[in-house]
């Protein structure tokens, strides 16, 4: 993830959120996060476009990021 963040950080923001953080409790339900790791991809306007349960692999995530930036 660190390598991917280094490659994409100019175009995509990477945010880490701890599920034990009580201040994000509603977000877990909103985006159906039932386990870790989980990833939610937002577009620049704040619309959740994709939810990953588990790590899908860098190629798949890269494909979604590329599609989102087009």
């Amino acid at each position: 993830m660190d390598t991917m963040r280094a490659d994409w950080n100019e175009r995509v923001a990477f945010v880490k959120v701890n599920v034990d953080d009580r201040s994000i409790g509603e977000a877990l339900g909103t985006y159906s996060v039932r386990g870790t790791p989980a990833f939610v991809l937002f577009d620049a306007e704040g619309m959740a476009t994709k939810v990953f349960s588990g790590w899908p692999g860098e190629p798949e995530v890269t494909g979604y990021l590329t599609q989102l930036l087009q």
Binding site: M1, R5, R11, V12, A13, F14, V15, K16, V17, N18, V19, D20, D21, S23, I24, A27, L28, V33, T36, P37, A38, F39, V40, L41, F42, D43, A44, E45, G46, M47, A48, V61, L65, L68, L69
Partner: protein
Amino acid sequence: MKNSRLDVHDVANEPMIGRARKHAVRHDGKGLEFMIRTKWKQGLGTVALGLVLAGVAGCTRPTDEPTVPEVDSGPGAPLSEAQDSATEEALRQIAQATNDALREADSEPAPTNAMSIQGTPGQATATMQDGDGDGSATEDAGDIDAGSASEETDDADAFAPDAPDASRVALYEPTWANSDADGLVAAVEGRIGRPALIWFHADW
């Protein structure tokens, strides 16, 4: 002994007019009765004619009479002549004041403190600069044949729209901390300025 012919002559000597007298002579012994009946009919006819004329006059409205809407100036009070004349006077004064204002506005020179127009025809360039130097805009105004127009102001907020400018909203830069809850909120609100990938993780 009276006969009917004498009666007729007696009746004929009575002061009668027109057809009543003629009929009285013609109908023996019944002249008076006929006269009364005729007079009665004439009276009825006159009354009927009067009623008909009155009805026609009541139903007929002069076409040249203007239709004026009723103005309720009080509980059932019609507009008096004094009120009518006062209204006309007020309207006349308003029209006069409007004409004076328009005439005065036409005679005043254009304000020069907001925008100065200079140059010659053909220099169709309008330049607007911000007083605080945070940006400037240059616009090619091809349809302006008066020359170039330059506007300067000390307060750029005078041009600020009422709605907040989305480009002026402070963007949030994620920290890559262990739990960046503010980054999550900023991503949801679209305040990061680019797509965001949120990684939900746990320490255990």
